[in-house]
Amino acid sequence: MSADTSTTAAAAATAGRLDRASARRILLHDHRIRLIELLPWVIALGVFFLFPGYRLLATQILIMILFALSLDLIVGYAGIVSLGHAAFFGTGSYVAALLVSSYGVPEPVTGVVAAVIVSAALGFVTGWILLRTHGLTLLMLTMAFAIMLHELANEFAELTGGFDGINFAPGPILGIFDFDPLWYSSNYFYALVFLFLGFLFVRAIIYSPFGRALVGIRENTRRMHAVGSPVLWRMVTAYTISAGLAGLAGAIYVQVQGNVTLGVLSFELSGEILVMLILGGTGRLYGAFIGAAVYKLLESFTEQILGTDQPYWMLVIGVVLIVTVLFTRNGFIGMYDDAIAWIRRRRRS
């Protein structure tokens, strides 16, 4: 159970009998922007100015947050498990790259729009077919679909560059700002702006009636059918949006670095993004932020300390994941919730 709803419940329970106005207030409560929600954006701006040497890493973190956020919409909110979300990330990546390398459209925002449309369309079609299954079957099918796309990209090497990938040079953003391969300044803000837009979009959705319906589906699908919810249609809609956002993340990922390789479609990436989300916490919006940041920072720093010749960081991530899953209710964000609840209890007594 997500703490989101339990905090609402706690607020309501103390209110006792509810009149209609307070009932509305409680439903609207989560949607209100809290001061602490500014924190990630303040950090993001701070990092840019204080640690210019880490902008490449920080840009990758921003993009992974967006990718994890897209996954959270289906895994955390609608309860749709997927081990193949890289299929949409990778589709967005290749659409953005191929537009420049094969179709001569170098403007990056155009590439992003095309990437979102194509990956959302792919999400719609596959969602319509796959979401009739559940649990392990669905997990296997999403995985199989992503692996299939990966093989397809490998097979059509003339187009995709196969194993070597494609190097391409996107033009200036909106014809104005050039990408900055050396200091990553425009690259960083490019990623930050899209993360912010993507975040606002997801945030609006999860607190909307549609978002509540997704939580209803996650909590009790049979009940949702019985109240007349078109469950499959709702899930396909969420899956389509999620795929579009993943495609957006994928497009930015390759545009800021000017190359694409088969890695963007890999099973490893599908797994990694799920691990990031679980580390951070599912169904909580900010789990994606914390999970992606912790994962990428751990990866980067263990590599710096222990060297890149051995995959030690995998070991570190493994240990952190095991500890998190065993000892927290819902990743790092669950730890945060527990800490807040503990402090409140201390204050009261």
Binding site: M1, S2, T5, S6, T8, A9, A11, A12, A13, A15, G16, R17, L18, R20, A23, R24, R25, I26, L27, L28, H31, A204, I205, Y207, S208, P209, F210, G211, R212, A213, V215, G216, E219, N220, R222, R223, M224, H225, A226, V227, G228, S229, P230, V231, R234, T237
Partner: protein, 251 residues
């Protein structure tokens, strides 16, 4: 004879070689207070699942107001006016009572697909949800999660959700099952006070409830209808007594 709201024609359902519903010809009249009884495993819940579209029949037809809905999707049937409660509580256990009702009402009013307006922004959805709770005197519990409620009150939420969908047909699958006898009168009171214009089909084991409530009784045995008629007729039916009521007295 009044007009049938819900009707089945030669309804059959097989699970492989197992026949769980056989040739069910059933009619639920407008404003009916109809009880469906039968021993365990008689196929009562299967029948409800066929009516609501959870299961599709092997053959036969289901008609709502004369319209064939045999192949209609579950959610469309709900919108067409068939609501149900479950034998075992099927609620959003971690959500508040208000949120449970909110989800039902927003689907019913066609507001649940909206993405760019916060939940709760539409006054009529919240008002209807609260009205449904008021109707069953559940408003005091609106802010509690389902888990925090005693089982009997959870059963009432099941009924409140069904009523919030403004049904023409209400299927109550053992509404008092699992409720301690001290609380069961609360549920019976609610059932007795249901609006007259709703046709009610109740599945129940408790004969006191059945004979107090029902004006029509259908007895289901091994997936088929054994007898159907007014309560005194069913009570006097020798076959019913031996198969069903007779067994009951030996418990």
């Amino acid at each position: 004879m009044s007009e049938a709201v819900l009707e089945t024609r030669d309804l059959n359902k097989n699970f492989g070689a197992l026949q769980v519903s056989r040739n069910i010809n059933f009619r639920l009249d407008a404003g009916a207070r109809h009880a469906l009884i039968g021993p365990n495993g008689a196929g009562k819940t299967t029948f409800v699942n066929l009516l609501t579209g959870v299961l599709s029949p092997t053959d036969g037809a289901v008609l709502l107001n004369g319209r064939d809905i045999t192949h209609m999707r579950q959610d469309r049937r709900v919108k067409a006016g068939i609501a149900r409660t479950f034998q075992i509580n099927t609620l959003f256990a971690g959500l508040t009572v208000l949120e449970n009702l909110y989800l039902a009402v927003s689907e019913h009013l066609g507001r649940a697909g909206a993405m760019f307006r916060p939940a709760g922004a539409r006054r009529e959805v919240v008002d209807e949800a609260m009205a449904a709770l008021d109707g069953l005197r559940l408003a005091d519990d609106a802010g509690k999660t389902i888990r925090e409620l005693p089982y009997g009150r959870q059963r009432l939420v099941e009924i409140a959700i069904a009523l919030a969908l403004k049904p023409k047909v209400l299927l109550l699958d053992e509404p008092a099952a699992g409720v301690p006898s001290a609380e069961s009168h609360l549920i019976l009171d609610v059932i007795e006070a249901l609006p007259e214009d709703i046709a009610v089909l109740i599945i129940e084991h408790d004969m006191d409830v059945v004979f107090r409530f029902a004006r029509e009784i259908t007895v289901l045995v091994q997936g088929g209808i054994l007898a159907s008629g007014p309560p005194d007729e069913i009570a006097a039916n020798a076959e019913v007594r031996s198969v069903y009521l007779g067994e009951g007295t030996h418990d």
